[in-house]
Symmetry: C2
Subunit: 155 residues, 2 copies
DNA sequence: CATGAATCGTTGAAAATGTCAATTATTTGT
DNA sequence: ACAAATAATTGACATTTTCAACGATTCATG
């Protein structure tokens, strides 16, 4: 054992007992960083990231969102949505259809291949989520989702 | 009212009822984006961001963390910590002290000015956190923090 | 106690993300 | 009919992330 670990009163483990350990904003940031990394790692098997997975999910869900709705929902700049949609469309997973009710807008629709891929990716995503919360009761899992919804959609 | 809103069955409001609305990873990302933005907005009054606030918090807390411990705790690359510490040190809010037990490492300590600024910033941060969870009971607030700790520190 | 392997902070470069202003096509309000 | 507003796109620019390399120091092992 190193001299350092013998002498130091406080190590990295104790940092979580500092003020930040009770700081919701910090906890949210760290929890997000870890879960995002886990999600990206498993989604990479399907050639997706959390971002493209989200776009594909909404297109496959028959919500028929416009790019602007997507941008707002995912908290992205509209120009970032262009790039994401470009990528998925090039892979023939989704299509842009000009909204007949507003020909300025594009409505996004998943192709059959897109739906297939999403179904697979969704299983992986679910597995990650369950793995992350393996130590928690289903009730607490749902309670967490409920509370996060409050933060994510403050009406 | 536009033709569009009259005809479309699904708008941006309904997106949250889609698959993603139950996706913990997405909810975390969106909740994090919103709270981070709120925190950054108010911390800007003190010349801080969430990142620099976190570094200052840990330095002011007498945890005497090394830069490496900070990097791990905040999930940052060590080189990003260098930049953050540079900024705070230039403003005389914290100091680098070479750890006598390991002369490769720098231990971070807050100056008196740093502690003062942190005390002020902390009040702002607390106010933001309470504002974000204003609609929630203190018990649920604590429950949320507890569940996030599980995700943020999976031991 | 000498020496090779590992670790800490730092630098710099490259890639990915985020932000913003301008443009075209279309729609809205009057 | 016409001015103002909105959707998507492009391109420029800043910020953030990621990675490899380096000098200084410490560690593990013989």
């Amino acid at each position: 054992m190193s001299r350092r670990e013998k002498t130091r009163q406080t190590g990295q483990e104790s940092l979580r007992d500092s003020v930040l350990g009770g700081d919701l904003i910090f906890l949210l940031a760290r929890a997000n960083a870890l879960t995002l990394a886990a999600a990206n790692a498993v989604l990479a098997q399907h050639g997706l990231k959390a971002r493209s997975y989200s776009v594909l999910a909404l297109a496959a869900d028959d919500a028929r969102p416009t790019q602007r709705e997507l941008a707002e929902f995912l908290r992205l700049d509209p120009s970032q949505v262009v790039a994401l949609v470009d990528g998925l469309e090039k892979r023939q997973l989704i299509e842009r259809r000009t909204d007949p009710a507003d020909r300025r807008a594009n409505v996004l629709v998943a192709t059959d291949a897109g739906r297939d891929l999403f179904a697979q990716a969704q299983e992986s995503a679910r597995a990650v989520e369950l793995g992350l919360l393996a130590t928690v009761t289903p009730e607490d899992h749902e309670r967490l989702a409920e509370l996060l919804r409050l933060l994510a959609f403050p009406d």
